[in-house]
Symmetry: C2
Subunit: 140 residues, 2 copies
DNA sequence: CTGAATCCACCAAGATACTG
DNA sequence: CAGTATCTTGGTGGATTCAG
């Protein structure tokens, strides 16, 4: 495990392995999954507790997101057949391990968000300049 | 910068900051972005070189993906006004920094993909069991 | 070669209402 | 409380064609 990284210079040797990363991002890279995982990192929560915390998510999307996470073994679903019913969701060991690389990405996002926004601004500027230049040449 | 992490226990303190991560994942978490970044990590490439390597991506999606990456300042676009035209794409410093956290996620994906597939199998099994149970109770 | 433009199919996701 | 069912819609992505 430790000697594995010695020979891995970058993301992967063959680009075929890159599909693994793309596949994983396809699962957790949607709009809600990481936020739900984020709310669960401090301990188990009930359905409506998550619903209140994430705020903005619809019942449908919360249900689908939780089902997807359960399907991938990232959270456990515990049902208490009481009245009223109670369902707890909790990160599994696998889910907690996911938080580590997610943390790395989070740090990157926080640290470089300003750079990205600045780049957006410069890009928009260049776009407007290019448009005005092409329109002036075509109109005359 | 170094003392910042001392007070960050997990992903974030307030859930509001979690939006930064969700926002970033929304940009790079699509089907093609990480694969394009992966192909560019070894050096600059031309449009058609990327097109051949990524294989499966349409011209439209490649163009849109590259434009998005350029917009966010993750790649640079260099145009040579020759005939035939030639355009090089290269990771910026910001883009190369992104590879580090991406590597972490990649390692997680490779290491735990088997676990996820196993969890999928167990989930499908439980689903089928639940369906057959409910159908047998309703039919009798 | 490097795109842009157009058309189209699919589905992800929101709103709403209903159920056990 | 914890979902499911249904409808609707905006956007995403693929195929194809055109252009500089």
């Amino acid at each position: 495990m430790s000697d594995k990284n010695k020979y891995v210079r970058v993301i992967d040797a063959s680009h075929a392995d890159c599909h693994a990363l793309a596949e994983t991002l396809g699962r957790i890279g949607d709009k809600w999954t990481v936020m739900v995982v984020g709310t669960l990192q401090d301990g188990p929560l009930r359905y409506n507790e998550i619903h209140r915390i994430v705020d903005g998510i619809s019942q449908r999307m919360l249900t689908l997101t939780l089902k997807g996470l359960e399907q991938d073994g990232l959270v456990t679903r515990t049902m208490f057949p009481t009245i009223p019913p109670r369902v707890d969701y909790e990160l599994t060991e696998l889910g907690r391990k996911l938080i580590v690389p997610l943390q790395g990405l989070y740090d990157w996002a926080v640290e470089h968000r300003a750079d990205m926004l600045a780049a957006r601004g410069r890009f928009a500027e260049k776009q407007r300049a290019a448009v005005s230049r092409s329109s002036s040449t075509t109109l005359r």
